[in-house]
């Protein structure tokens, strides 16, 4: 029984030993398979050396990467011999400083940290058998025996060429981006205008140097501050931003910038909205140009215009005064002639008014000009109580100021003639009309008075008026259209060559 038990224990013990051995063998098989797999990997170079650095193992990955066969390197050279010598020297120098000990340039430099138990992974340029080079990332591990003594080193390397290319490409892209940003910034900074961007609520997000000079504030002070806060009229400045946001752009919007030291500068703003790639509104881009000199020139020109206008009108007033004085001592039948003369002078004065009202004085709006003449004649010849009314109907055509003088005097003569002779009973209507007819414009002065026959009986005074009409029509290069018989009233049609200025090509003198 006791023997039987002992046999059983022995059997159990033997069974246990066999199981442990099987496990150990299995583990060894697995570890061996793993090591073989690593050593046979074509993607890693695995180089094992002895303690002195002489290569003992050179796997297929190393053969593939470096171009040597294992036989060509094993027991012959160290990994330092297939590495960039300058890098090895540089590494030795750097490690000597880092670790405070002299490290010999050579294999020691490659494994020194690993030999001290420090994890070491670094970049190294390997040199192939054919002399070509490639960047590698090398991981170094010390191989130790059971007593922890170093028996060699394992250098596992991966070819870093692809990553280096990507990095180089990325660096190129980064440099290109930096160059582009520098170029864009240079353009912004070299602009003579003060430039800025704001967000949609009018808060400044970027400025250039000119904007700093305009406001007397630094870039840091401006960015984050409200746009409106740097102008004499903040409400108008805020309105500018709203206008841009509403209309997507504004041009020639005048504002007066107020610098920190109180200096004011009149600027003209051109601004547009700007968006990100997704078309989402980012804010407003605005360029402000100093228009101080332009404004001064405009003021000088206006001042000169006012001065000239004042002198001309005073001179005309003197002439009208002289006529008035003469009329005072003249027999009643002749007074009307003096009045007519005053009306002619008034027509010329009206023309000066219309021209001076124009910002650039290139053209005169005929319809507005006719209304002014009618108003002046009503006041000078008819008075408030008159039963004669002058009506104006005009298409928006324009004439150059040079032709406006004879044109105005022509209208004045025809209208005066109608006032004097068409309405013996003191009431009626006169109509002044200008319209485009084909390639000409037609001036029509009509009345609903007594007609030509009765007027024809009147002799000399209106003869002068008719002579003037003929002269003015010739001066304008036009023709008088023969009158058709009509039951009542008189209609005078005068066709004139196209005096128009191309539409949109001029500013109207009397809008």
């Amino acid at each position: 029984m006791r023997n039987a038990n002992r046999e059983t224990r022995v059997a159990v013990s033997e069974h246990a030993d066999n199981t442990a051995r099987e496990h150990a063998e299995e583990a060894l098989l697995k570890a061996g398979a793993l090591q073989r797999a690593i050593l046979n990997s074509a993607n890693f170079s695995s180089i094992a050396t002895d303690a002195k650095g002489v290569i003992q193992i050179f796997n297929v990955g190393a053969e593939r990467m470096l171009g040597y066969t294992a036989a060509e390197v094993m027991n012959k050279i160290t990994p330092a011999d297939i590495s960039d010598s300058q890098e090895v020297i540089a590494r030795a120098k750097a490690l000597s400083i880092e670790l405070g000990t002299a490290i010999t340039p050579g294999f020691d430099a490659l494994v020194f940290k690993a030999s001290r138990g420090i994890e070491d992974i670094y970049e190294l340029t390997y040199i192939r058998k054919d002399g070509s080079r490639f960047p590698a990332v090398v991981s170094v591990t010390a191989l130790r025996d059971a007593q922890d003594a170093i028996i060699g080193y394992l250098l596992i390397g991966t070819d870093n060429t692809a990553r280096k290319l990507v990095e180089a490409e990325q660096e190129k892209l980064d440099q290109r981006l930096r160059d582009q940003q520098f170029y864009t910034r240079s353009l912004i900074e070299s602009n003579i205008d003060a430039l800025m961007t704001t967000d949609p609520s009018g808060i400044i997000t970027d400025v250039n140097k000119q904007m700093e000079a305009l406001t007397g504030c630094t870039r840091d002070e401006l960015i984050g501050a409200p746009f409106k806060g740097h102008f004499t009229d903040p409400a108008r400045a805020e309105a500018a931003i709203k206008l841009v946001l509403g209309q997507k752009k504004v041009t020639d919007y005048e504002l007066t910038a107020c610098a920190r030291d109180g200096k004011q500068t009149v600027v003209s703003y051109n601004a547009t909205t700007f968006y990100d790639r997704g078309r989402k509104l980012q804010g407003v881009f605005a360029a402000a140009r100093d228009v101080t000199e332009r404004k001064q020139r405009e003021l000088d020109a206006l001042s000169l215009t006012n001065e000239i206008s004042h002198r001309i009108k005073n001179n005309l007033q003197v002439i009208v005064g002289l006529i008035a004085y003469e009329a005072k001592w003249t027999a009643a039948p002749c007074v009307q002639g003096y009045k007519t003369m005053q009306a002619r002078i008034g027509a010329i004065a009206q023309l000066y008014d219309l021209i001076s009202q124009s910002s650039r004085g290139r053209t005169v709006a005929v319809d507005a000009y006719l209304r002014e003449i009618a108003k002046a004649m009503s006041a000078s010849l008819l008075g408030n109580m008159s039963g004669i009314k002058i009506e104006v109907e005009g298409e928006p055509v324009e004439i150059d100021p040079e032709r406006a003088v004879p044109f105005g005097l022509l209208v004045n003569e025809l209208t005066t003639n109608a006032i004097k002779h068409a309405f013996p009973h003191g009431s009626g209507n006169i109509k002044l009309c200008v319209e485009k007819v084909g390639d000409q414009i037609e001036l029509v002065v009509s009345d609903d008075g007594v007609g030509m026959k009765e007027k024809d009986s009147v002799k000399s005074p209106e003869k002068r008026g008719s002579d003037y009409v003929a002269i003015f029509v010739r001066q304008l290069g036009g023709t008088i259209v023969p009158s058709q018989p009509q039951a009542t009233g008189t209609t005078v049609r005068i066709q004139l060559p196209m005096l128009l200025v191309p539409s949109g090509g001029a500013d109207r003198a009397a809008a």
Partner: protein, 121 residues
Amino acid sequence: MAVILIVEDDVFIREIAEMMIQDWGHQTLTASDVDEALLLLRSDLPIDALFTDIYLKAAVLGGCDLARQALVLRPNLRVLYTTGNSITEKMKALLIEEAHFLRKPYTQHQLQDSVNNMLTA
């Protein structure tokens, strides 16, 4: 009939205007600039209306300034402006409310209408 102060820097225009206004039975006082006019306005002389050119010698808008000061001195004063220049927005802002306006060159009839309108308004 009224007493009208005429302020005009051009002697001929001023005297012709004076002659016309007197012909209609009014009395006149005259001045050639703002300072002369203010001396009269500060005096005890009766003055019912001011007829002033806007552009007075060196003062581009002298007539506007004069009218404002004149109304401070004589709140019931009637005002008739005249000028040969266009009426700008700046000028409009300086004109006295309810004042009358006559454009140069004006005829005797236009002046008579304007004076009558001013005095009867």
